[in-house]
Structure formats: structure tokens, C-alpha cells
Symmetry: C2
Subunit: 80 residues, 2 copies
């Protein structure tokens, strides 16, 4: 089973990396870029076949390693 | 209009960051983690309201700045 995890900064948390991308895009001539937020995307291939167990395991992984839950949100999506 | 962009390493390209996460997860006691691939997730808020024009603009942004197309794939998804 495959898990797709999105880790994004919480609203209100400054995103200097996103701001840098926004400035670079504007500098390259792309008009109308109002905001850019950059996050992480992690694909995890699991041996687990039970959907509920896989979901619980990946959420635990997010809490302990993948996301900094003080400033980041995570979203887990299971595929296949 | 909002664009969600996924940037992932192409198949066959080594992903040391993903491997490090995999090793860390296994070390933390998470069994059955067969593979981890890490990519980027970028949310772009655009002033553009035409879907086709927005798609074209974001694809151009990916080609010129956001993705290294030699080793990375990008996927653009428009929301709202």
C-alpha cells in the first residue's frame, strides 16, 4: 500500500522559501502571482495491506518524524 | 485561482533524502517501510481566472524555475 503525505506550513506561519519563489517568479516576468507556499510531499511504500492500520501508522510517522506539528499540518492519503 | 504543484524525482533518480527518512522511520520502530520518496509541494495563488491560461503559466513556471526537468517531474492541478 502506498501513502501520499502532504506537509504544509500552518496558516499564519511565515514561509520565507515560498516568498523567495514568489519574488523569483515575479522577477522572471510571471505577473499575477499573489502568493506562494512551499511544502513537502512524501510518498511512502508500505508492506501493510490493511487500510486503517496503514493510516494509523503513517499518522504516527508524521507526528514523530515527518512533520513539526507546532508549525506544520499533515495530510495522509492512501492509494492502492 | 489556486494551483497545486507536485514536484517529484523521476524514477531511477537516487533520492538520498527519501532514503534517510526511510532509515530513520525503521530506526524508530516503524516496520514494513519499503520505500520513501520525497518531493516538493507548492501552492501558487494566481490572479489569472482563465483555467487554460493559468495551466499554461504554471507549466511555464515549472519549466523555468520550480522543477529541474532533467531529474524531476512536475504535475499541475488547478483548484477553484
Amino acid at each position: 500500500m502506498k501513502a501520499r503525505v502532504h506537509i504544509t506550513l500552518k496558516n499564519g506561519v511565515l514561509d520565507p522559501q515560498g516568498k523567495a519563489v514568489q519574488t523569483a517568479l515575479t522577477g522572471l516576468g510571471f505577473g499575477g502571482v499573489k502568493d506562494v507556499r512551499q511544502g513537502k510531499f512524501i510518498e511512502i511504500e508500505l508492506a501493510e495491506t490493511d487500510k486503517a492500520a496503514a493510516q494509523a501508522a503513517v499518522e504516527q510517522m508524521c507526528k514523530t518524524l515527518l512533520a513539526n506539528t507546532v508549525i506544520e499540518n499533515y495530510q495522509v492519503e492512501l492509494v492502492g
